[in-house]
């Protein structure tokens, strides 16, 4: 079986769930006839019909509202956002309605909001953001960020089956750039569970999405000078796998928290607080965070490159940590 791209893995997961459960349907802009801006739902409308692959106007708040209504009646909607940068258009629906429905009214809202996020493609400020922090801050939601094709498929399926509302952040940089062999059987990846992408004894790099690959690249470089990184792929940001975070810190005693989201208010702060709570006495050095700069995502390619964390940044910080 040929290796499957990250994007294709998501498509497969979506398709399989729609086959499996008639309550599952897709709704979003250009997903039907056009097949989706990134072609994730190409071919879906022909197979599943327009009742289950619904094209909408440019109206994010209504998309979520409609999905929410459908979820309340027992359906399992998957709402696509053409770019997750547009989530704030539906902010009230997501945070006040969907997130609180079960708590406030005993009314579960089992919907999935999915779409491309992340930079590195010269998309500019409105097509490159990492908006996850707005939603990791909202109790009632789950927030998922896969880094591999295997996880993307397993997690989208698990997210659709989850009775809670899930915000599923796909990384557009990874869509066609990474691929791997996937098992043919129906498999799920559990939400709320991190994965050790690489074992090592010297420094833990706690990260997610595209930055997992950045960390692995840095690890290759550092291994040559005898520094072994352990890379923890969080996979789910809400709820955070506190146990995995504590365990990796206890193994290495030094930590870099790495993410593509901006620095201030990014989830690195939350992770560092968790480390302080769970493993303070295992720290042999201060926890370091590596993030994007506190600006909108630049369009200009050299500026965007400066804005995003790079493998060379990870290498530099790792060396400093070892010398502490």
């Amino acid at each position: 079986m040929a290796p499957t791209t990250y994007l294709e893995a998501i498509r497969q997961g979506l398709w399989e769930e729609m086959e499996r459960d008639a309550r599952v349907f897709c709704i979003g802009e250009d997903i039907g006839i056009y097949g989706g801006a990134f072609q994730v739902t190409e071919g879906f409308i022909n197979h599943f019909g327009p009742q289950r692959v619904i094209d909408t106007p440019i109206a994010e708040s209504a998309i979520v509202g409609a999905a929410f209504g459908a979820a309340l009646t027992g359906m399992r909607p998957v709402a696509e956002f053409q770019f997750m940068d547009f989530l704030p258009c539906a902010f009230n629906q997501i945070t006040n309605m969907v997130a609180k429905a079960h708590y406030r009214w005993g009314a579960p809202a089992p919907l999935v909001i999915r779409g491309p996020s992340g930079g590195g493609v010269h998309g500019g400020p409105f097509h490159s953001q990492n908006p996850e922090a707005y939603f990791t801050h909202t109790p009632g939601l789950k927030v998922v960020c896969p880094a591999t094709a295997y996880d993307a498929k397993g997690l989208i399926k698990a997210a659709i089956r989850d009775p809670n509302p899930v915000i599923f952040f796909e990384h557009k940089f990874l869509y066609r750039r990474i691929k791997e062999e996937l098992p043919p059987e129906d498999y799920l990846v559990p939400l709320g569970q991190a994965r050790v992408a690489r074992s090592g004894g010297d420094i833990s790099v706690i990260t997610y999405a595209a930055m997992v690959h950045t960390a692995l690249e840095a690890a290759e470089e550092l291994a040559k000078e005898g520094i072994e990184l352990e890379v923890l792929d969080l996979r789910t940001l809400l709820p955070l796998d506190r146990q995995a975070i504590a365990d990796t810190v206890k193994r290495t005693n030094r930590v870099i928290v790495l993410h593509e989201d901006v620095r201030t208010g990014g989830i690195a702060g939350e992770i560092m607080a968790v480390i302080n709570e769970e493993a303070f006495e295992w720290l042999d050095a201060p926890v370091v965070r590596l993030t994007a700069l506190d600006t909108p995502v630049p369009f200009s390619p050299p500026l965007e490159e400066h804005f995003l964390p790079k493998a060379s940044d990870v290498v530099r910080e790792a060396r400093r940590l070892m010398a502490y």
């Binding site: 006495e281 042999d284 201060p286 506190d294 630049p298």
Partner: protein
């Protein structure tokens, strides 16, 4: 050469436009970007700016006429503008975006600093340093400390939460650990290495098994300050801890945890028991000769070296049977007589002293005692003693004579009430009186034994009689060695 003024395309789907008003007459000066005429299209009415500076030479399309887009509707003569009047950035025109003539940096502010109206004025007072400020904030906020000279507080050793926890668990004083981290910080590797090289030792109740840091070799000779109890300079129990001016040559070495513990226990023992010491002279000639004769054969048969210790142990056990008070403990107002005799045998180690216990010694014959003593001493030196091996002693024997001392005045090992010190066995001249009362001088092997005992429960008479029992048993040794 005149510049064409054309009907612009105001939208993709717009194909024509109507000139509704000319704002300049032919012959009038016009500046580049200055509004020149107004148009009306399907989508929008607009004011169209002049494409160049100069004089409006000709109007080709009069007001009210509709023409296709891109039609030339007028001409501007730039002849007058060829020399001095270079195109200047219009100060009060509507500009679609802050343009960048003359190469001034346009920096996009992260936050709007000025009122929106002022932005059209052109010159920003200060370039908003959005990216630069952000770039600075990316520099790691955590400052790694610079060096030991920056450390003002001499007490505090720089380490980390992990290192402090390890220090706590292993009872290590961080001031003794060499730090190889930044600024002399003690790192995880530093403390783990230290612990490996300085194990905490068997959890014996009072006793050290760790070298006192910085003590010269001479200390080892009197080390078992525990053993001697003499006013060793290292143990000035009565001396208050008066602060002394530190001279240039003085070296201040902090106590290891073990040393601190010994110090506490020694002083505590002296405070608890009313220490009295009696010394007895014992003629060991008989035993010395027996040992000389028998040791090779003994070793061959039993596998154990034949030492003096089991002789003393057997004698002590015999004497304890006569005077059980010597094998007791004080518990508040009661005396606990121990049913078993668990003999503590002090063992001198390279790094200190330890007292493993030979349990139920009263059940053992000579060979059993010898073997037991050898086993405990060997395991003590190999650091293989178990916690149980150093607990539960009821009476202790110590052997300072090893270092050549005549006798010592040992400190009782709490909660026992007596301790027997065995001095050096040395040839001396003594006066022997035979059965006829005739005196002669003989050379005999003499050993001085000393009993340290607790006068709370053992009076002088008992102590002395105990010692005489031991002495008689030794002088008239009549046991089979096994």
């Amino acid at each position: 050469m005149p510049t064409d003024v054309i009907m612009p395309q105001m939208g993709e789907s717009i194909v024509e436009g109507t000139i509704t008003k000319w704002l300049k007459k032919p012959g009038e000066q016009v500046q580049r970007d200055e509004p020149l005429f107004e148009i009306s299209t399907d989508k929008v009415d607009a004011e169209i700016p002049a494409p160049a500076s100069g004089v409006l030479k000709e109007i080709k399309t009069p007001e009210g006429t509709t023409v296709q887009v891109n039609t030339v509707v007028g001409l501007i003569d730039e002849a007058g503008a060829a020399t001095a009047t270079a195109p200047q950035p219009a100060q009060n025109n509507i500009q679609p975006a802050p343009s960048a003539p003359g190469g001034k940096e346009t920096e996009t502010p992260t936050y709007l600093r000025e009122a929106p109206g002022a932005a059209h004025g052109g010159t920003a007072d200060e370039p908003a340093r959005g990216m630069e400020a952000a770039a600075r904030s990316q520099e790691t906020v955590i400052e790694f400390p610079k060096g030991p000279e920056e450390e003002e507080d001499g007490e505090r050793v720089r380490s980390s939460p992990l290192v402090r926890r390890l220090a706590r668990e292993h009872e290590v004083d961080l001031r003794e650990v060499t730090g190889t981290g930044l600024g002399g910080r003690v790192t995880k590797d530093d403390i783990l290495r230290f612990v490996e090289q300085h194990p905490a030792g068997v959890p014996a109740i009072p006793l050290p098994s760790e070298p006192a840091v910085g003590r010269p070799a001479a200390a080892a000779a009197q080390a078992p300050a525990y053993q001697t109890g003499t006013a060793a300079p290292t143990m000035p129990a009565a001396q208050p801890a008066a602060p002394r001016p530190a001279g240039m040559a003085d070296e201040i070495v902090p106590m290891t945890p073990m040393r601190k513990k010994i110090a506490e226990r020694m002083v505590e023992s002296k405070r608890t028991s009313a220490h009295v010491h009696s010394v007895y002279e014992v003629d060991m000639t008989r035993i010395v000769k027996i040992r000389e004769r028998r040791k090779d054969d003994f070793e061959r048969r039993t596998g154990s070296r034949l030492t003096f210790m089991p002789f003393f142990c057997r004698a002590a056990i015999h004497a304890i049977r006569q005077f059980p008070i010597v094998n007791s403990s004080v518990e508040a107002d009661n005396i606990r007589y121990h049913r078993n005799i668990n003999l503590g045998i002090a063992v001198a180690l390279d790094w200190g002293l330890i007292v493993p216990v030979l349990k139920n010694a009263e059940e053992k014959n000579f060979l059993g005692l010898q073997r037991g003593i050898t086993d405990l001493a060997d395991r003590a030196r190999a650091r293989k003693l178990l916690p149980d091996d150093v607990a539960g002693g009821t009476f202790t024997l110590t052997n300072p004579g090893n270092y050549g001392q005549m006798f010592g005045l040992p400190i009782i090992l709490q909660p026992q009430v007596a301790i027997l010190g065995v001095g050096n066995i040395k040839k001396q001249t003594v006066v022997l009186t035979d059965e006829n009362g005739m005196d002669s001088i003989a050379i005999r092997s003499i050993c001085h034994i000393s009993l340290g005992y607790d006068h709370r429960v053992i009076d002088g008479a008992i102590g002395d009689q105990f010692l005489r029992e031991v002495s008689d048993y030794l002088q008239n040794w009549n046991e089979d060695l096994g």
